[in-house]
Subunit: 307 residues, 2 copies
């Protein structure tokens, strides 16, 4: 991993050569080495430590969520190209014989499957909102969660920082506009300090989500104009186009409206989240500090392994 | 969680009531509490500690794998009903308008999606075999891996021990018939001792996989006759039908043949794996020791939290 070489394919090949990632035959799906996993585990502990004073409620969600929930959230409207739904074979012996026959002759057998109730989780917080709504009114001081989940986005790429399946850790605050803005502000500061403590170059910048189609351009512009999304960017595979490793999102009352999240007095809740792309942070660390975690700078090791 | 009540639905409801699992609206998909996650983390560390003397190579695989690899492995022949493939929307603006229209009118829009190259991983070892094959001949002493992965099986159920998405840890040995048999024997002993150290009642018994259809009955009988599969069973939701929490599988040269896994002299490799169902072990612990992990027996806490 030469410090001057920044292109995606070169980095991916060096990760394969160093046994940090393992090929699976599909772009964006890779096995991770023990060292890679150790870095992710230590970074997760760091995030939890930094968030500990806020006493968030921790929930881990599986990589799949209710498809009905994903539909209701509006995801298929904004990001249909990134979503994944799980289809399964539900036939009997006769249909199974057809399936095997089609597979043997190289025909497309996948249409023999039907959609299940499971969609892949696109971001750790999507399954949270209905969970909170089911509990009744949100207390006046708001609620705070620390989430983790594997997430899926259908965007096959040879950029190792753009995996199809990756892990996200998130803090989510649900409360008044003021409460969730203060929460986001505090993480804009804490997140940048955390990444700097890992001796990684970074910048925080205004950003937008990859909304689908022509109408999406307007949504992206609105999002920028209103300052709803910021990203913490680290050069991983390009200096000109650094990689978003953390994101800080203010949803206004979008999820409040969608899921009926209200205070006891009936006022709608706002929400905000800060997301940590775990694979991206790990890749940034390997990119800047080298393939051998034992040889990373002492200061970085102290932050990650210190407790 | 009354010690006398063993049925699945009662246990599931008590897990919801105690905030250990969270409903998502789909049977077999649940959020996990911080305490549940801590138990899983500690149990994983225990497994890694027990396996440490064998110096396995650790690889973590994502919840999705190459669909082509799953097809070639024979999974769709034996377990088509359990498999899941990821389908995504790949259309343009016009198709997207149709999708939104169908969704608004309650029509089935899922057929607008197409199969991606991603299938959900059904067991942690499926992505491993082609990875090993790509490295060339297997050394004479064999190879040993410690794997982890989220796994999917399409079998919606209100039995909390039968989740659709769950985590599996696995040791996989690839070598001669003698090497992989010795590996499996050693884990039959170590696995039982480990579960007993957690003060859980258990038995090891001959077992078979849920092969599909009428032909599957014969395959299941063959598997039993040849002693290819053992399971470590713990009563979780039933005393009569205890839950398989660990499994010990000898594949003969099935994966060796499928993936061309050979020694330098051209002889085919055999393989065996021991799998740990992490959610199932955690559920067994909550079931037998109660909802409050701080109140678990001191001996159990010492084993899990001791290091």
């Amino acid at each position: 991993m030469d410090a001057k070489t920044f292109d995606a394919k070169t980095l991916l090949d060096s990760l394969f050569d160093n046994g940090i990632l393992f090929e699976t035959g599909v772009d964006g799906l890779y096995g991770r080495s023990g060292a890679f996993e150790e870095v992710i585990e230590r970074f997760e502990k760091l995030v939890t430590r930094l968030g500990a004073p806020d006493k968030a409620t921790r929930i881990h969600f599986p990589p799949g969520m209710s498809r009905a929930t994903l539909e209701k959230s509006g995801y298929m409207k904004s990001f249909p190209q990134l979503a994944g739904c799980v289809h399964s074979f539900m036939g009997g012996e006769r249909e199974h014989a057809s399936l095997l026959n089609m597979m043997a002759t190289g025909e497309d057998w996948t249409e023999l499957q039907k959609a299940t109730n499971v969609a892949l989780t696109p971001a750790a917080c999507y399954p949270l909102y209905p969970t909170v709504a089911a509990r009744g009114p949100v207390p006046a001081e708001g609620v705070l969660f620390e989430l983790s989940s594997y997430c899926f986005r259908h965007e096959p790429s040879q950029d190792p920082a753009r995996m199809q399946l990756f892990r996200m850790r998130e803090f989510v605050k649900i409360g008044t506009a003021e409460q969730v803005s203060a929460f986001r502000e505090s993480w804009l500061t804490r997140g940048k300090a955390m990444i700097e403590s890992l001796q990684l170059p970074c910048d925080v910048d205004l950003a937008n989500d990859p909304f689908f189609g022509r109408g999406g351009k307007m949504m992206a512009n609105n999002q920028r104009d209103q300052g709803l999304k910021f990203e913490l960017l680290i050069p991983v595979t390009s200096i000109e186009k650094p990689t978003a490793c953390l994101s800080f999102n203010y949803h206004q009352d979008h999820f409040g409206q969608t899921w009926g999240l209200k205070f006891a007095d009936g006022e709608l809740c706002h929400s905000a989240c800060v997301g940590f792309g775990l694979e991206r942070v790990a890749l940034a660390l390997f990119r800047h500090h080298g393939p051998d975690i034992e040889a990373w700078p002492a200061g970085v090791r102290a932050v990650l392994w210190g407790e």
